[in-house]
Structure formats: C-alpha cells, structure tokens
C-alpha cells in the first residue's frame, strides 16, 4: 500500500477494477474521459475488456449485454451522454441487470460548459428515464471517496440487481488528492450465486426474498430478458396478478434496504443551524462550518453520499433539532426540493450557483448567519 496522488476520475477507474469490473464500454466526453482512458489501459492487464462504442446509447446497451454475459460492467459519461443513456438505464432497472453508470456532471443544459462543474443532474439521475422505478445514486466528495463509492456502487448493483449511478462532478473528477489504495484482492466484492438448477431457475421470482439471482447467458439457464413487463420467468405479460408482485418486489428491494443510505454527520450540541450538502459543494460546506465554529458559532453539518434513495429519516431527525437547514448546491435548487419535502419549506435556505463556478464559503456563511 502506497500513497499516490490521483485524480477523482482515475480513482473511479481504480475502484471499478478493485470491485471486479471486467468490462467497460464508453464514448469520450469531457469531463469524464479519463475514466475511459484508464480503463482501456488497465482492463486488458487484468483480463478484462474495453470497447469504445459509437455513442452513449450503445455504451449503455453494451454494458448491459456484457453483464448478461457474466462480466461486471461500467460506463462513464457526462451531461449530454447521460441524457442519451436514459432509455437503457430504464431497461436495466426493468430487466434488473446490475451495472454502474458514472456521470461526471458538467454545466448544462445542452452542451453547456463542458469543462465547468455543476450538480445539475441530481433530478435527472433520479427521474431521467421514463416511468416509475427505483434507482441508487451515490455522490463522492473527495478522491478517496470516488474510489470507495465506486466499489460500493458495484456491490450495491450486484446485491440489489439494479443500475447504480455514481454522480460525481467536474471538480471532484479532475481534482488531485493523495489516496491510499487498498490491496484489490481483499476489497469486498458482492457476488450473488445462482443456487437453483436450470429446471427450477426463475430470473424474476418473487417468492424467495426480494432479489433473485441473475444467471449469465450460456450457462444452461435458458430464459428470456425483456424491457416489457414480465412474469417470473421473464415472458411478457399484461396480467395484473403477475405485474403487481413484481412491482412491489422491485420497489421494496431498494426502499427497505439498510445498507444503501450513506451519510456523515458532524453535529454540534445546541446548534440551531445546520448545513446539508453533497459532492463538491460539501467541501465548501465543510469549510464554512469550520469558519463558523472558529468564530464560536454553533453549527451542524450533514454531508450525504447517497442522494437516492434520499436519507429522509436522518434528515427529518436533523430538522427536529435545528431551526434552519442551509442547502448549498451547484444548481438552481434540486436536492433542496427533497429536503423541503422532508422538513418543510420554512426551515430550508437554498444557496445556489449554476454558472460553472463553485459556491464560496462566504455564500454559505451569509445564508447561515442571516
């Protein structure tokens, strides 16, 4: 184990390799391209495969195909590419194919500012594909967390048979920080083994826990995968008695999980003000907290790594102890909507910036002290 200076994007690639990712399909786009570059260099050395597809739609499709073929798979992109991936992200949710999608957020909409940071895809990550569905979205605030959360993203996607979005941003992606990489062999890797015989195997069974095992193609479990509503063996169905149990199961598997919600709390006894943030903005929030405390002001800090599902119970508890929650984010107010839903609008103070520049500690201080 040695300490290395590494970019957030490189740390994501390393985290993927450590987690057992052996297939990457992607399309170049700023500011995510380093992930692809590192993957193209490292994957062949560990017996994995890399392909640069013709676009992001194809990249998303290919990683789903790769996972069906038995390889843990990932793609990385940014704004416009993330928009193109949405339909097939929905397919992965519907067909319950594990995969990891990295979105290094840049300023949008449209081409926006490719080299400027943003947190404008928070709602898109949750609701970007059409139709109701559950999704897991993780958001790192440092290079070290970029590594850790990528590993976590793979493990959660395998454990819950769902696409997982790693929603980072240009600042964290391009920033260099020292990181101590663990021995990849001892990094925890979640594998769900198929215990049924081919005769008894049902890829979408509802009767034994909420997450049936996914059998790779070509191993004797011949079954059907479709983006249509399907029955337990994967055949298209319009029968309500087959659709409803499936719907309930895929919602429940993520809603009731106890290991998805990741957040850090730095609470101060007696504080009536709290700052809640994530990603690059959480770094500003941390700085502002330090400054306030240096001045003798009491303030609590809540930084969340899981954006979706939203850690509503923890935020509710926080709200019970404070009068005001300041939510700095590099957009026009997206996660603030969720905080407002949980704690009510009156307690929430938004601090927003959506022009490509970072939120400054002063902006947070002003809002917190007002």
């Amino acid at each position: 184990m040695t300490i290395q200076l590494m970019q957030g994007n490189e740390a994501i690639a390393m985290g993927a390799i450590a987690a057992g990712c052996r297939f990457y399909a992607g399309y170049p786009i700023t500011p995510s391209t380093e992930v692809a570059e590192v993957m193209s260099r490292v994957l062949p050395k560990v017996g994995g495969k890399f392909i640069q597809m013709e676009d992001e739609i194809a990249s998303m499709a290919a990683i789903i195909g790769g996972r069906v073929g038995g390889l843990k798979s990932m793609t990385a992109t940014s704004g416009p590419g993330f928009s193109l991936m949405q339909e097939n992200i929905g397919y992965a949710a519907m067909a319950e194919i594990p995969c990891v999608v990295v979105n290094v957020q840049r300023l949008g909409p449209s081409t926006g500012q490719p080299t400027a940071a943003s947190q404008g895809d928070v709602m898109q990550a949750r609701w970007g594909t059409h139709g109701d569905h559950q999704i897991i979205v993780l958001c790192p605030i440092s290079v070290a967390q970029s590594f850790d959360l990528t590993v976590k993203a793979f493990n959660l996607s395998e454990k819950y048979r769902t696409p997982v979005i790693l929603l980072t941003d240009e600042i964290i992606g391009h920033m260099r920080e020292p990181i101590e990489l663990p021995d990849f062999d001892i990094v925890e890797k979640f594998e769900r083994l198929v215990t049924d015989t081919p005769d008894n195997y049902k890829a979408y069974r509802n009767d034994r826990g909420d997450v049936p095992a996914l059998a790779g193609f070509g191993l004797g479990y011949r079954y059907h995968i479709t983006g249509l509503f399907h029955d337990e063996v994967g055949f298209p169905t319009q029968r309500l008695d087959e659709i409803d149990p499936w719907l309930e199961r895929v919602s429940r598997k993520i809603e009731t999980a106890d290991d998805i919600l990741l957040y850090q709390t730095d609470y101060e006894a007696g504080a009536r003000t709290a700052i809640l943030s994530y990603g690059a903005s959480a770094r500003t929030a941390r700085h502002a907290t330090k400054q306030m405390r240096a001045k003798g002001e009491k303030v609590s800090l809540f930084t969340t790594q899981t954006l979706w599902p939203f850690p509503e119970k923890a935020v509710e508890e926080l709200a019970d102890s404070v009068d005001k929650i300041v939510v700095p984010e590099m957009n026009l107010g997206q996660l603030a909507l969720e905080v407002e839903r949980v704690v009510g609008r009156k307690k929430v103070v938004r601090v927003n910036r959506a022009n490509g520049d970072m939120i400054t500690p002063n902006m947070v201080l002003e809002a917190a002290e007002a």
Partner: protein, 308 residues
C-alpha cells in the same frame, strides 16, 4: 415447414399443459420452441415471420449447436418478438439497440453464437448507426434483418426500406424518400458475409443463415418479407398469399441475375437472392482477446519478476 409452425397454435391449449413429447421429437423446429411459452405468437395470421423463425431454428440445428451456446438478441417491433418463442438464451432489448446489446454480450462471451434479430426500421433507422459500426468492427454477430418495408407494429408508417412512391400511414401521398439497399450498406460498412432471400424461399434462408452463423465475423442475412396487414392493405397489394406470391414473382436468384445481359441487369427491379458478398477479415473479439492475453501475460511476468 409452415404446417409445423401453424400447428403450434394448437399446442398450449390449457395453462401449464405440456405438449406431447413426441411432437417435439418429430420436428427440429418444434422442439426448439419454448414449451412453457403460450402460443399463438403475436404475429398476424399469414405473416412471413413464422417461416423465417423456422429457417433460423433449422439453421442453428444444422450446425449442431447446443441451445445453451446460442443467444438471440432483438430490438423492438414485430420481428423483434421472435426470440421469446425460441428455447435459447434470449433478450428483447430497446428499439434499435439490439446490435449494441449484442456487442457487449459477444465481448463477454465470445464463445457463444450471438444472433441479432431486427426489422428494417429497428436495424436501419433508429439502429442504423449500430448497424454500420458492428459491421465495421466485423464482430462475430449474425444480423438477421427481416425487411417488410414498413413499421408493422405501429401500424404501417414508411421505413428506410419503403420503396419510393409507395404509400404508408405517414406517407399518404406516396413515399418521397429513396430506400436503403440493405445488403450493399452492410458490405460497404465491412460485413464479411452478406446474403438475401425471401420468406417465400425458406430453404434458401436455412442455407444462408447457417452459413452466416458459421462465419466468424459480422454477417447479414436480409430476409425479405411483407406486411399484408398494414403496408399491403394501404397499397392494395392483396392478401398474405398474394404478397407471398409477389416475393416469388418479383425475385431472381443471383445465378439467374448474373446470366442477364448488361442492359437487363441495369433495368432489373427484382430482388436478387443469394450470397451477395463474402470476405475474410479478422474478427473483433478474436483480435481483442489476443490483445488481452498478451497484456495479461506481460503483467504476470512483471509481477513474478518483482517489477510490479
């Protein structure tokens, strides 16, 4: 052949009832259909798709492949519903993206025979980009494009293969766009086996498909079919049987075509059936796998010598 396919309609009369084993023993097409899938198919009576599905099964069977070795990946549309009825590893994906999903699968499982099943709209309009890039890579996938010149499932809109002047629900005054020559497109983009036949000529399709599947690289088989329900009705082309007859009358074998004089060839409007293009070129996954092997060995050597 079509008799067997049609008799499948009688198979699954009661829920969960498994048809008599000897029916399946008697026919290769039947025993490769899914016994636990409720028939009939979603296709209209008289559709050419059943015939083409029969050809695909016979082609796979003729190569002695195990069902576990074969994966069928389809997009969206009438044609793309084909895999669900067949007892292989089957995947019904998103519109236009069958080849992109198939590419990922083939890379992960280069030992498997991956067949992408698409209609003309699926493969050439929304999926046109994936089509040319899969051909360019010469990745070992067989693309079966069933060309019925229309979007059947959505009710008969004009497609990238609708001939000029023909009518569609979105071309009520006649189509003003020229069609793609599917086989030429595949060959120009880099496919290494290209063949065409029609739903009227299942024995030819059997042969083309088996050759396509055994080709190491990217293969295209264009199966010309028809949609009597939408396109045929709108253009007053008659019944399914009439349109099937048209495939016979309006097509010509490649050998007969080559015997035509130059002028006749110039003015030929008939569909040319046969193997149209063949080339030897390295297959994508073979090339990439050898790269992986080389880098992997180097890495192991570095580790063993303590340099990494």
């Amino acid at each position: 052949m079509s008799e067997h396919i049609l008799s499948v309609h009688d198979l699954d009369v009661g829920e969960g009832q498994i048809p008599r084993e000897d029916w399946f023993e008697a026919s290769s097409t039947l025993h490769n259909l899914r016994k636990n899938k409720k028939f009939p198919t979603i296709w209209c009576a008289g559709c050419g798709l059943g015939v083409i599905m029969g050809s695909l099964i016979r082609a796979i069977e003729s190569l002695g492949l195990k069902n576990d070795q074969v994966a069928l990946v389809a997009g969206i549309g009438c044609t793309a519903r084909m895999p669900v009825y067949m007892d292989y590893n089957t995947m019904h994906t998103t519109h236009g993206r069958a080849l992109a999903f198939a590419t990922g699968l083939k890379i992960a499982r280069s030992d498997m025979k991956v067949i992408a099943i698409m209609g003309d709209g699926d493969a050439l309009a929304i999926g046109g980009n994936h089509f040319i890039h899969a051909a360019r890579r010469n990745i070992g996938i067989t693309a079966l494009v069933v060309n019925n010149s229309t979007y059947g499932m959505t009710g008969g809109q004009y497609s990238p293969t609708t001939p000029e002047g023909m009518r569609a629900t979105t071309a009520p005054y006649g189509n003003v766009e020229p069609p793609f020559p599917v086989c030429d497109l595949a060959a120009a983009a880099g496919a290494t086996f290209v063949a065409r036949s029609t739903a009227y000529h299942p024995l030819e399709l059997d042969k083309h498909l088996s050759e396509a599947i055994s080709n190491e690289g990217f293969s295209l088989v264009e199966a010309v079919s028809y949609c009597h329900t939408t396109y045929g009705r709108i253009n007053k082309l008659g019944s399914a049987a009439d349109m099937m007859r048209m495939l016979k009358d309006n097509s010509i074998s490649k050998s007969a075509y080559e015997k035509l004089g130059e002028d006749e060839r110039e003015t030929n409007t008939k569909i040319v059936r046969g193997v149209l293009y063949r080339k030897k070129r390295p297959e994508y996954t073979k090339t990439y796998d050898s790269l992986v092997e080389r880098k992997h060995e180097e890495e192991v050597k570095l580790r063993n010598t303590g340099r990494r």
